[in-house]
Amino acid sequence: MVDAVRAYWLIAALWIRASMAYPVSFWTMTVGGVLITFLDFVSIWLMFSHLDSYGGFSLREIALLYGVTSIAFRVADMLVGSVEKIGQKVRSGDLDAMMTKPVPVLVQLCADRFELRRLGQIAQGVAVFAWAAPIVEWTPQRLLVLVVALVSGVVIYFCVFVTFSTVQFWTTDASEFANAFTYGGNTIMQYPMTIFPREVVRSLTYLLPLAFVNWYPCLFLLGRTDPYGAPDWFRFASPLAALALVGVTALVWRQGLRRYRSTGS
């Protein structure tokens, strides 16, 4: 594990240095990233010029949900987003080359073309969160839940990236499929669950537990009860959901790699 993390940073650091070789391009892309993601939130804000609340949530409350899921998602995207290029690496034969190096293949895939400029997108999430933060009556407990939720959220999105990218070992052209769950998942979580039918919320709790990234922890931060009547301990269960997902992801990844190693394609 220590070796894997070390190897990850070695590769990532190389890409960071490479991108810094062109500082103008780096900063343009970073600022561009902030602007594009900023427009993303503006669309929600504009919606509120006609509404006082949406699904029973005020704009600031939604901004809180938006901020937490965005930070978690963008951090995961920066750290492991490259994994969605599995299919491309299989076709080009790069995966074979990776397998002849003494570093876990998953680490090499995730660290490949590490993009520090994605910090810009994270910054946007942080800004939205900071704007929303004053509506929470902060206590040490709430701060702890927030930190735990953010860490768990990164892990959950990491698992979603890896699991759905691994599908490409079976169908090499399915990177769009992964996008539906990663970017799509993040977009869904930017809204309060109250606007969705019960079945969707159930799926996002028990099947693909994205609701543990922001929905349940934010209910605690806001001191609100769950409109769908989920048990109160769900608000603190983000690490459990993350852990369960890590188990599933490890299994799927291993199966995928095993399949590759017995078919070579």
Partner: protein, 315 residues
């Protein structure tokens, strides 16, 4: 103990294909079938065969990329499929048509990253870098991004990269594909020196039989997943029932030369081509021709291995 030990190694692939609207049939393809051979430390072995014969599948099993479906392989005392990452520290792999360097980064950065990933001691790294960079003529290219390198330059970069951690075995998959004659010659020279001076074991697959002639004392020919020949290059020629050619330049044009033990296959003015079995001596033929004709010049041509191998495949 041999460095590479392959015993009854097999890899089957199940290919599913549509056989009707809903029906699908499975076809089992034996890419490698009951393959056995041993390679000792310090050998240079050519691994050749037609497309689809199982060369790449074998190399992938020996490097741990593919898991065998039967039999066993032992490389440097390790089981490649199970101890892939451990094995990676002791072997170097160069795939001819793709690069394991980082495409957008200059060679220098790629080498530096490899130094850290493999935890190569400073002294080893510096020595290897100095040696290989000089011999492979990479000095001026160290700061060029890999994507801007020509095929030959990239290949040299790849080979230098694969050798940084002092591997005991170097696998080369089509190392001279797409290179010009001069580059090919230099690369062969480098590999020969590597084998002589460092005792690095080389296993190379190639379509270029001149690679084999220039480099390999031993050839393994694989066809349809099994070894059809394993031995020195010289006996490959004889085994294939090949023939050598005596080219005679006469002073004047003459009718076809009639001597025992050889046949005229071609006449072109004063020049005649005589074919004789590869395992026969050329001396008595030369004596006979010289005794009966006015000879301006003589030369003997070895059989082209292409022809020899073609014959092997047709059996």
């Amino acid at each position: 103990m041999p460095l590479i030990e392959v015993r009854d190694l097999s890899r089957e692939f199940t290919i599913r294909r549509r056989a009707g609207v809903l029906r699908r049939e499975s076809v089992v393809k034996h890419a490698v079938h009951d393959l056995s051979f041993e390679i000792d430390a310090g050998e240079m072995v050519g691994y050749i065969g037609p497309n689809g014969a199982g060369k790449s599948t074998t190399i992938k099993m020996l490097t741990g990329i593919l898991v065998p479906s039967g039999g066993s392989a032992l490389v440097a005392g390790l089981e490649p499929a199970r101890q892939r990452r451990e094995l990676a520290r002791r072997i170097g792999v160069v795939f001819g048509q793709r690069t394991s360097l980082w495409w957008d980064l200059p060679l220098r950065d790629s080498f530096e990253l490899l130094r850290r990933i493999y935890r190569i001691p400073d002294r080893t790294f510096r020595r290897n870098l100095e040696d290989h960079v000089a011999l492979l003529d990479l000095g001026d290219l160290m700061d060029t991004p890999v994507r801007q390198l020509s095929l030959g330059q990239r290949m040299r970069g790849d080979i230098a990269a694969a050798l940084l951690h002092d591997p005991e075995i170097l696998y080369l998959d089509e190392p001279t594909i797409g290179l010009d004659v001069v580059s090919k010659g230099r690369l062969r020279e480098f590999l020969r020196a590597l084998n002589h001076e460092r005792r690095t074991t080389l296993m190379l697959t190639t379509h270029d039989l001149q690679d084999i002639e220039a480099l390999c004392d031993r050839v393994i020919v694989i066809d349809r997943g099994t070894a059809v020949f394993d031995g020195p290059l010289s006996s490959l020629r004889i085994n294939g029932g090949a023939s050598r050619t005596l080219v005679v330049d006469l002073v004047d044009e003459a009718p076809a030369i009639a001597i025992e033990g050889a046949q005229v296959v071609k006449v072109e003015g004063p020049r005649q081509w005589l074919s004789f079995p590869a395992d026969a001596s050329a001396a008595p033929l030369v004596a006979q021709v010289a005794a009966a004709y006015d000879v301006a010049d003589l030369s003997i041509h070895e059989p082209a291995i292409e022809d020899v191998i073609r014959q092997l495949y047709s059996h």
